[in-house]
Assembly symmetry: C2
Homo-oligomer: 111 residues x 2
């Protein structure tokens, strides 16, 4: 995820968040995940992404989107559909994906 | 966060998610974070939590709540208020906190 800053720069709410928690199958695929995030970033309505994976293989990626329509369009993206299928079959041991509308936000930014 | 399973067991949407992304000041405080999560888990309306911090110090914690009221009550919890103040002053270099209403959810569970 190194092409993105660690914190997403998001506008005033409302906007959407896709919260993706996962554990990998053996023989992970960090490079593929990076490719998918890059693909997402070229999608209309993409606002940013925050992502971290621990040494135990559990990871959380949150992508931010302007609207529900932008989330749905991303879900239906052809290259992303292929990745979703592979993800289900091969890459992930377990995942939870939640689509949520951000209503409020607070921050303490670095100086 | 070892007292919790890695994946939160959440009900059918709608429910609420508090997405907390952060980087620590020098001299972190993993034990304090664990204490706060434990405190949250005793709060009315707490559904679960998912949390991961990378080796570079960037972390994401998502807590799940039954309702907006439950999130607000947690925000106003006296012990938590003290922690929020400390967090702002001492613990975190940078954080972004987003309150979001989960509208849809999908999963692939481990066998």
């Amino acid at each position: 995820m190194s092409i993105f800053p660690r914190f997403a720069k998001t506008p005033e709410p409302p906007y959407y968040a896709v919260i993706f928690s996962s554990t990998l199958q053996d023989g992970g695929f960090a490079q593929v995940a990076e490719k998918i995030v890059k693909l997402a970033s070229q999608q209309l309505g993409f606002l940013g992404v925050e992502s971290v994976r621990g040494t135990d293989g559990f990871g959380i990626t949150v992508s931010y989107w302007t609207s529900e329509e932008a989330v749905s369009a991303w879900k239906a993206n052809v290259e992303h559909l292929a990745a979703q299928e592979k993800g289900k079959q091969e890459w992930y041991e377990h995942y939870e994906l939640r689509v949520a509308k951000v209503e409020r936000a607070y921050a303490k930014a670095s100086p």
